[in-house]
Symmetry: C2
Subunit: 306 residues, 2 copies
């Protein structure tokens, strides 16, 4: 028993605390039903001086009125060096029995029982993940003995292979981040004044980069030239850019998707680009929402913890 | 005669005015000898309110004492929309007889005769250049009827094909700019605190990207993972990054260099990476300094102007 209070609240809190967002679910301990859920733009990059405890105490003040301890199970970048407490990494291949490996965080407020899920690392090729290990567990549980490949689309897009309920290997692509820094900091920024994506144009350019990935940095400058010569407009440039970067990723992840069914984790319209290109290669896909599977993963870890 | 003064100074000024630097040469009109030369970090991106004339008047004040006109011939981004006066583009294929196509710029100070060299554009694939057209002319003149391929390494690296003294086609790669924005704005910036490049490591990673260009955005994240797992240090990360981006460019420019001798325009150590990879493909290379060939090009244009 980590707490000075003997009795536990009749709920627990699942937290996915990432770089840009804090998402949480308050869950009834008896019947597993959802009491409340919320996503707020208070990711770890916005929190100064490791002020994580104060953020939670402030957010959950209504639930902290009684002298009861509350279990809070966190996954994501909160367990990184830049987060609350470095929860370390476990090496793949890895059977996701995280409940045996959770890291406990000491708090001033003795009502809080904070646990953080560790990340995963891979030696060859070197790679790391935080958050997707819990989502991978969510997929394994949801599909009941899932064997196959998951693509977590996003800032650092990840391809993960699961065999016999084990996380076997994974690879990360800088997809979302390349999109952000090229649109905000390169010569293209002069031509970009919108966030609107034309999904059909994005798909067309994803196919171009998928077919000729070696032309990537030439295709980037060509967007600037098309802006100057052909008056390619702001939304068109942004759409072409997003397509080129996703097409490059899919060309580079071939050894993961070839011959496999792929579960795509993400939301429209970006995930539709992956679906189109993979389906064109006769790869079957299904789509899952990242927050749903985070919750399934966290619930599974918590069930085994108690 | 564009000026109110009838007599010309016994010198003229050649100017390569780019995005980051203003480089100029003061040349004796009689014997072509160099009177003075200078490169100052006053590229067009640092000049507000189109204050170009004041910059020149201030820089050349010692030469403006007598009532004589001075011819100043400029190439580079000074002729862009963001520059002094948009000097337009001519379409490839193009015989570089720029002296017939120069754009004259009106000035308050009637001693200045400012001419700007136009840029070049290409419709298919869309592309533009400013400055390299003058450098291409420099190469054509220096090699006396040069047929072959030139690679202008740099921020926007350009591959140019010359046949029968004509600029036939070209392609631009975002090489130097990708290096800058990824090292300054991506997740890698946390691991980069130096500008030191280990050229051997850069060459190794250029070969990796050249062989597997489709892995580019995966290889970028891998540098971050290697920093976390294998303690890859700051200089090593920067070296790998530079290599990956140059290798990607060389993979993408194959149709230019395959079966051709390539003149590489640039300076050590970056140009050595291009040389190594191309030589490994049995492509002969020679290296030229960009400022030397700018001057040859500008001198040739000026000679024909008068």
């Amino acid at each position: 028993m980590k707490s000075t209070y003997e009795k536990k609240a009749n709920f627990w809190i699942a937290v996915d605390w990432g770089t840009s967002h804090l998402r949480y679910w308050i869950i009834n301990r008896e019947d597993g039903k959802l009491i409340n859920e919320k996503s707020i733009p208070l990711g770890i990059k916005f929190i100064n001086h490791k002020n994580f405890e104060n953020i939670l105490v402030n957010e959950f003040q209504d639930y902290l009125l009684e002298n009861l301890t509350i279990d809070i199970l966190c996954c994501g970048m909160i367990g990184s060096k830049q987060g609350w407490k470095d929860s370390g990494y476990f090496s793949v291949p890895f059977t996701p029995e995280f409940y045996k490996k959770l890291v406990f965080v000491k708090t001033k407020n003795k009502k809080l029982n904070i646990y953080i899920v560790p990340g995963l690392k891979q030696s060859n090729p070197p790679d790391v993940m935080r958050g997707e290990e819990t989502q991978s567990l969510g997929i394994i549980r949801k599909y009941n003995n899932f064997d196959g490949v998951i693509c977590f689309t996003g800032t650092h897009s990840k391809w993960v292979q699961i065999v016999g309920n084990e996380i076997i290997s994974f690879e990360t692509f800088l997809t979302g981040e390349l999109f952000q820094i090229i649109s905000e900091h390169s010569i293209l920024k002069q031509s970009i004044s919108t966030k609107k994506i034309d999904i059909n144009l994005a798909k067309e350019y994803a196919l171009i980069a998928f077919s000729d990935p070696h032309k990537f940095s030439k295709n980037l400058f060509e967007l600037r030239a098309k802006n100057l010569i052909d008056n390619l407009n702001s939304s068109e440039i942004l759409s072409c850019l997003s397509g080129l970067i996703i097409g490059l990723e899919i060309a580079g992840s071939r050894k993961y998707w070839l011959g496999n069914e792929v579960i795509l984790v993400g939301s429209s319209p970006m995930v539709d680009i992956y679906k189109l290109i993979l389906n064109k290669q006769n790869i079957a896909t299904s789509i899952q929402d990242s927050k749903d599977i985070s919750l399934i993963g966290l619930k599974d870890i918590y069930k085994n913890l108690n």
